[in-house]
Amino acid sequence: MNPIVPHLIVAVLLFAIGMTGALARRNAILTLVGIEIMLNAANLSFVVFWRFGPNPDPQTGLMFALFSIAVAAAEAAVGLALIIVLFRHRRTTSLDAADSMKG
């Protein structure tokens, strides 16, 4: 079998699991966990297409995944700071409490 298919199916399942969790959980931190899982699934598909794709350049796909990891780290830091601010205002991290933009 084409070895690209099982890897891509793992990436797809990971993305679907992350999206289900991000939509279903009420805790803002766990929604962020779901987003991280989705980003990881995208990273996995980058690496899979780097390894098995026909692009002759040996490094471009890896670089894409590396930069994606760096951007995901920045996103996690800012998201968690926002959650701390939300907790300070509302004393909870439930997303149902974050229903207005006014502090």
């Binding site: 399942l13 990881n40 780290a73």
Partner: protein, 182 residues
């Protein structure tokens, strides 16, 4: 495909399912670590050695620890953190399952999916560093600026309310009162 890949895939997917379905948020964060480590193993199996190492360093070493820190800092919000209403799960499962089904159908419907027959020559860390400093130097600088701005922004966000709501933080108020008394 080797059985190692299937083992790592099971580990990754099982960790992800646990991270999204367990009730205790701390258990969720720890299952997320399992997912990240499994993905790092998949990267190693694909030949992306440096990427697997950075996955462990960045995700397991930084992001997961940050998540656990914030979970413990925001403890004590009552039963909210355990109170998952089941009525949200069905629409979410519908969306996630539908998306996964469509994407799997797309993947399986590509018979001539791009496939390189010969394995590529794996780039060494030295080659990666050289191309980071030559071909990718502009993205590298942009990512540096982005990370600096994001971390400064995160610090500003997390610290900004000390002055406005002094009743929230006990030690600061006592210090401020002491200063005004003096």
């Amino acid at each position: 495909m080797s059985p190692i890949f299937y083992f790592l895939a099971m580990l990754t997917l099982g960790g992800a399912v646990a991270a999204m379905s367990l009730r205790n948020p701390v258990h969720c964060a720890l299952s997320l670590v399992v997912t990240f480590v499994g993905l790092a193993g998949v990267y190693l199996g694909l030949g992306a050695h440096f990427l697997g190492l950075s996955q462990v360093l960045v995700y397991v070493g930084a992001v997961a620890i940050l998540l656990v820190f914030v979970l413990l800092l925001t403890r004590g919000s009552g039963k909210d953190e355990f109170d998952e209403r089941p009525d949200r799960w069905w629409p979410a499962l519908g969306v996630g399952g539908g998306l996964g089904g469509v994407l799997i159908a797309v993947v399986l419907a590509q018979p001539g999916l791009a496939l390189r027959t010969a394995p590529p020559e794996l780039p060494t860390v030295r080659a990666l560093g050289e191309s980071l400093m030559t071909d990718f130097v502009l993205p590298l600088q942009v990512v540096g600026v982005l990370l600096t701005a994001a971390l400064i922004g995160a610090a500003v966000l997390a610290l900004s309310d000390r002055r406005r709501t002094p009743q929230d933080s006990g030690p600061v108020t006592s210090r401020e009162e002491g200063e005004t008394r003096r």
